[in-house]
Point group: D2
Chain length 261, copies 4
């Protein structure tokens, strides 16, 4: 085989270190740990990168894909192993991996009890330098009903679909399902894939009895996360697709911030 020059390995004299160099938007079939079934097959979008010292011209992008090829079922431990290999293979001090995927939680409809899958979008953002960071974000669709609208109106109250995005760092395993529960219990009502008439009645009345601003949902989730064992950091972002506007309302906090005030 001919000897092809390794341009990436050239010496670089520009004295600019790069925080991240890698690949993005790689769609990939993956399997993820599932609290109930053990494992779940899904499709992920991958971003893999390393830190590049100032004296190296480039990284070897194909090695990221080789690593993806060897990837085991997605869990914090397996991703750490992937990052260890990435650091070795690319001689890097820091390696990162970001994985976004559709995850399905099986939920019964609230009255009739019919099971169906409910989609939550999840992201794992991880970094390995001297220490290992694992940040999990779970985006949970819910329903919010406006307390102001209910209070000032003779009947009815505007309500809408909203997304509760909870990001956590943990020191023991917390399941996606646990975070979904926090998000759903903090809103006016959960949403469901399948609702028969009896279920729709309950969901409608539950939301009306339980009005919540986006501010309220963030605070309720925050109180619940404070009590959840194993969480060392969290943030909560809630965004509602206001049904009386063509724009969204949102609220955000982080657990370190919220005690400052």
């Amino acid at each position: 085989m001919e000897n092809l020059k390794d341009v990436q390995s050239e010496k670089d004299i520009r004295k600019v270190a790069l925080k991240k160099v890698g690949i993005k938007d790689l769609k990939w079939p993956v399997s993820v740990m599932d609290k109930i079934q053990g494992v779940q097959n899904t499709v992920a979008t991958l971003e893999l990168s390393v830190k590049l010292p100032s004296d190296m011209r480039g990284t070897h992008m194909s090695r990221f894909v080789e690593m993806a090829n060897d990837m085991k079922s997605l869990n914090p431990k397996n991703i750490e192993l992937l990052l260890i290999q990435l650091k070795e293979r690319l001689q890097a001090d820091v390696a990162h991996c970001k994985i976004k995927f559709d995850y399905f939680v099986k939920k019964p409809s609230p009255v009739t009890g019919i099971m169906s899958p409910s989609n939550v979008v999840c992201t794992f953002e991880t970094e390995l330098s001297d220490k290992y960071n694992f940040l999990m974000t779970v985006n949970v669709p819910v329903s919010t009903l406006c307390p102001c609208s209910k209070e000032i109106s003779e009947f009815g109250a505007h309500n809408q679909r909203a997304t509760v995005s909870i990001a956590i760092k943990m020191d023991k395993l917390i399941w996606i399902e646990d975070i979904v529960e926090v998000a759903e219990e903090s809103a006016s009502s959960p949403v469901y894939s399948l609702l028969k008439r009896e279920d729709e009645k309950l969901v409608t009345e539950q939301a009306y009895s339980n009005p919540r601003f986006v501010e309220d949902v963030v605070r309720e989730a925050s109180l619940k996360l404070d009590k959840l064992k194993g969480i060392v950091w969290y943030s909560v972002h809630v965004e509602s697709m206001e049904s009386i506007h063509n724009h969204n309302a949102f609220a955000y906090t982080e657990n370190e911030f919220k005690f400052e005030q």
Copy 2:
């Protein structure tokens, strides 16, 4: 200047005519006719194309951009002139132009009367062969409140933002503003950029008094469009971001279809 070969003008022997050849996703500053102010500046995404006979290898893509450079204020007449020039410059039997843009309608809030701009996304899809076709689509955000949820629940009713997409062919000028009115009057309530408390009370109660399935909104819009002078064809698509689900509901009809049944 050197003589550079015109590869596109080569003879093609594969005997495959192409229905459309052109450019897409060209962002462009444009001005659009406005019923109230006369003209409105906005940003459009352009698609320009021509039919290509089987014996021509390629079209000259740069000429589409030259045409865009010469484009006057967007209205049916000016777009026809553009297509006439496109046919000439590219020696084509058929030319097409598709223009998608954000348009703003100034609306007062319903009680306090404060004016603010409200965004509707519009599309002009046009074709010039022997005859000229001009299809205008207006996507109007509205609110829908579920008649079933209201009926079966002791209190409250789920509601949500929805989009009414009305496409029309006309034989006299119909304004974007006229279509916005049809869409808003067909829904449970319009949506607004700005609502003070008194406005929010009205909008909430109005929606509750006026429950509409997506099916109802399509039918109400259809009846109104039947009466609007100047329309020779229309379709109505309504999609609501259901607040009790993580998926959408939709309904669709066209005026030629709806009488078949």
Copy 3:
């Protein structure tokens, strides 16, 4: 259990039949037939709908989700069975189902032969009235190198990623993999998830030796599809993310159209 009124089943007197009523944007875990492995797990976005006669107020949206719950592995036969049930359950003359999903084809890199998955986005659009229509679209990423740029330049030639979208109706089973092959062979070069240096050299030189306008790619694909047994209708759309512009170039044909000229 209390008796909840069925509002959807009310008589409608507005005399407007609806072409489609249903649900959209439902994310769902599915399995799809795979030419090599037998079956492949992935995530789909579903749209399910029926025709609604003018005298029925609404459809029963929850039944679409019940049907999705019962859905078997995706293939033309199983989707037909789903539509038969949908027509029955919703007493409809016409039922539709649109399924969009990520599919992965395992491909070896061209010189080193390392296997890795390559993502193609596919759509099944189906309709059952008196007869059954099944339209399959496969969107294949490829590389195109500009013949004009190569011809007029002393060295180099601009090239870019492009998407070949082939839609077909068939009277015998044609695999996604077969359509991927047509698309890749029609372009300047296939693209790959994983390329080592020897592979990159080959792909670069192959593209340079094989310049293709979007017009050429459509025509080459068209000629190959003409010869593929089992195809009764097809269309080809090619869109390239031009590397010298901030907009795209595209070309399109359908097999019925291309002989008109």
Copy 4:
């Protein structure tokens, strides 16, 4: 007028302060300072928010839209005035404003000199607490040609459209146009809306003569930004839509980071 209860102003006892509360995804017509023409009309997506103390239940969302209604031409000074008013009107310690918009730079094609608009997406992210922070991001489309592919191949080299995203904090006015220049000079070649054959020849040859990895583009931009007077902080992100892959390559640095190594 009746007296409607102000639910948002209720006392909150949950002891959770919120970092941000506000509105998002509000489309709005705006005008922006333009280096050449003075001012440019365009369409923006707005996010407006404030910090919320732990003892206030909610913010008054409609006031954000009132502020947007009063908004003057977008420049650092006018946005600071908007944030001062926002803090006052909402009795907040911190106010934020994020504005994303399409901006058009007029550029001549490189040989024939034909002027046409070229789209760059810009974002202003601003915060006013005790001090005022203004972060400007400019996303510039360019072309990159792979040095490795050129080196190892007998002819040709893969190239593609890429986006250079430069974010800066400044202590004197720096124009969007200045950042566009930095980005374009750091890449293998600029991209253009309109190129005639002579222009295409130049652009093709220029890119081939000037191969750049994403790593190179970040470093070249970094060196140029180091020399640009008025910049107190910057970051550079480059992402290329690889023409030989179906995924992207990227590199990133910040000026504080790059000297650490």
